[in-house]
């Protein structure tokens, strides 16, 4: 089909894949197949695809705990992601990390992080690597509005500006950090201005429209590749609760309705205005995600002794299992 070459349609497809994927994550939880309930859906934030479309093979990135969509946009296999979220051996991290710690070195994903702000400084180091090896790669840190309150962000932005690193700080402002709306966590809400104060190129993009995000972030992304670090704020809305157990009692139904009206998928459908093509994409995506879901659920859980693997490099000894230690002590006594 010619659709694949059509960038806006392809961005719609990626956004649809993210939305449907996240719906499946919700179902995984309801079926009791997910590893725990700390699952953070990125529904409402799909327009980040406008930014990730400026990234290339070889680029690296880190994400926050709400990073499923970003990784899908960067080429993740949804089956392996769902398997990881379900704590299965077939998952990206062998069932060790789960939803909040998905990573894949090959696809440039240096790791999702459950410490708010934890992954941000890693792009500074990736930027140094890119500079020293002249590999043309950029590195992007994705984080939420909540991380705008973490001191480490400011340390990292300053270093990036000081050393002119090919990096971009991308804040996905979904208006909430858990139950705290951003006006209750920021003394002043001019996030791009904070980055500008450090000497970064900064822009705010409307997360209701993926094409706007794509256009408005182009200069910052290209600037980063030329060694001028950037900052992007994507203005979005968190459609659902913080994690699976959160019913968002701290916000009104009216506010939620208004937030969900700013739906990047609906906006894209309106702009693309090709019902038949869009419905075909939707159907294909549903099929893809159903297959991924079935594959993940059928995947076996890791064998118990795998828990000792990956603490250290496999060429060095793994930690001694407790039962082995106890057995040697107690046998000694006999």
């Amino acid at each position: 089909m010619t659709l694949a070459n059509d960038a806006p349609l392809s961005r719609y497809r990626t956004m649809r894949r993210i939305r449907t994927f996240e719906e499946r994550v919700g179902e995984l939880f309801l079926k009791g197949e997910s590893a725990g309930s700390m699952l953070h859906l990125s529904i409402g934030e799909e327009a980040v695809v406008g930014l990730t479309d400026h990234m290339k093979t070889g680029d690296t990135f880190t994400t926050h705990h709400r990073g499923h969509g970003i990784f899908l946009a960067r080429g993740a296999d949804p089956m392996r992601m769902l398997a990881e979220i379900a704590g299965r051996e077939a998952g990206y991290c062998r069932g060790k990390g789960g939803s909040m710690h998905i990573a894949d070195r090959g696809l440039g994903h240096l790791g999702a992080n459950a410490i708010v702000g934890g992954g941000i400084p890693h792009i500074v180091g990736a930027g140094i690597t890119a500079r020293n090896t002249a590999n043309q790669a950029i590195s992007v840190a994705f984080f939420g509005d909540g991380a705008m309150s973490q001191g480490i962000l400011y340390e990292a932005m300053n270093m990036a500006a000081l050393w002119k690193l090919p990096v971009v700080f991308c804040c996905i402002n979904n208006q909430y950090g858990m139950g705290t709306r951003v006006d209750r966590s920021a003394g002043k809400q001019a996030f791009p201005a904070r980055a500008e104060a450090f000497g970064l190129n900064a822009v705010r993009a409307d997360g209701a429209d993926v094409e706007t995000v794509h256009n408005d972030t182009q200069a910052v992304m290209e600037g980063a590749r030329d060694g001028h670090p950037g900052f992007v704020e994507i203005d979005a809305y968190r459609f659902h609760g913080h994690a699976r157990m959160d019913k968002s009692p701290y916000r009104t139904p009216e506010e939620e309705a208004a937030g969900r009206d700013r739906d990047p998928l609906i906006m894209a459908r309106t702009t693309l205005d090709d019902e038949a093509a869009l419905n075909t994409i939707d159907a294909e995506v549903t099929e893809e995600m159903d297959a991924a879901m079935a594959g993940a659920i059928a995947a076996p859980v890791p064998a118990t002794d795998t828990m000792f693997q990956d603490v250290y490099d496999p060429t060095t000894p793994a930690p001694q299992p407790q039962r082995a230690r106890l057995a040697s002590v107690l046998e000694e006594l006999n």
Partner: protein, 330 residues
């Protein structure tokens, strides 16, 4: 007496202390409007207002640092960090600032604050949200450390913590919030001292926090064949070991059960003390039964397997006393 939960006992402790002393303030992420990530502070904002129940940005070092300053200048802050894992972010404020002020400044400036947090496994919360980091706190002179295992202790230890002249780290367990029990009129033991939760003559098991319950289950299963004395340490820094040593001298055997990584743990410290102080009374070496020396994996099956449970405690205890080896040791 009516039953309540660990969560509600904690809330009652905060409520009673705040009603009694207007200098007590709470600060932390989601402690106000949201009512606490685990619901402990629900309703307190309405009771005491935003000057005393302070919702903060996601700025852990800032939260702890601000609490230190408030404590230095006359308030009684109870700061909260949502997961003990975030101690990784606040250890400077905690260990270099709060713990050392009184000493560095020649006794002039105390830091009477409580840092409430919660830890432990059981929710598939993975490597950065499931740790048991009490050893970090125990390794820091100047900090006090309490870890309640029961509903009554949730209340009394928190009340006692808020009366201390020095910083107290107060670590709850995420798996205990729904535990039901009664708040007894008086604490089960004075602040700083362990409580004997079960009498026995064959073996002393020292434990604390959620592992108390696994240990009591194991002890019940072992009786009458093996009679276990179960000691709930409650306060780990400073560690008052008098009761424990008396018990070990009576039983001649000691097993220490914790959920934390075993190497360099509270269990290690206790095993060393038992060896030093009870050497001549010991039938067997003191034994540590703790978490595996690994980060906590997300997969529920692996997570469960990475820490002790009642069955493992029972097997090791029986082996220690009767020499009957469990199947995995054969």
């Amino acid at each position: 007496m009516t039953k309540t939960t660990y969560r509600d006992a904690l809330r009652k402790a905060l409520l009673d202390a705040m009603a009694e002393d207007e200098n007590v303030i709470l600060m932390g992420e989601e402690v106000g409007l949201y009512g606490g990530a685990y619901g402990v502070t629900k309703g307190l904002l309405d009771h005491f207002g935003a000057n005393r129940v302070i919702d903060t940005p996601i700025s852990e070092p800032g939260i702890v640092g601000a609490a230190i300053g408030a404590a230095m200048t006359g308030l009684r802050p109870v700061a909260e960090i949502m997961y003990v894992d975030f101690a990784g972010m606040v250890m400077d404020q905690l260990a270099n600032q709060a713990a050392k002020s009184r000493y560095m400044f020649g006794g002039q400036i105390g830091v009477p604050m409580v840092l409430r947090t919660q830890g432990g496994t059981g929710r598939s919360a993975a490597a950065q949200h499931s740790q048991s980091l009490e050893a970090w706190m125990m390794h820091t002179p100047g900090l006090r450390l309490a870890m309640p295992a029961t509903v009554s202790d949730a209340y009394h230890l928190l009340r006692d913590a808020m009366r201390q002249p020095d910083p107290v780290v107060f670590i709850e367990h995420k798996g205990l919030y729904t535990l039901k029990g009664e708040i007894s009129p008086d604490p089960d033991a004075p602040w700083g001292q362990p409580a004997i939760r079960r009498d026995g003559r064959d073996l002393t098991i020292a434990t604390y926090s959620r592992m108390l319950h696994e240990t009591l289950t194991a002890a019940a299963a072992l009786a009458p064949e093996v009679e276990v004395e179960v000691i709930d340490l409650r306060c780990l820094n400073p560690l008052d070991d008098t009761v424990l040593m008396e018990s070990v001298r009576r039983t001649g055997r000691c097993l220490i059960v914790t959920e934390a990584v075993t190497t360099g743990s509270v269990a290690s410290e206790i095993a060393a003390r038992v060896t030093e102080q009870c050497f001549d009374w010991l039938e067997e070496p003191p034994l540590r039964l703790g978490g595996e020396d690994i980060p906590i994996p997300v997969s529920p099956a692996l997570e469960r397997a990475s820490i002790p449970d009642a069955m493992l405690i029972e097997e090791v205890a029986r082996w220690l006393v009767t020499r009957e080896a469990p199947s995995w040791a054969a």
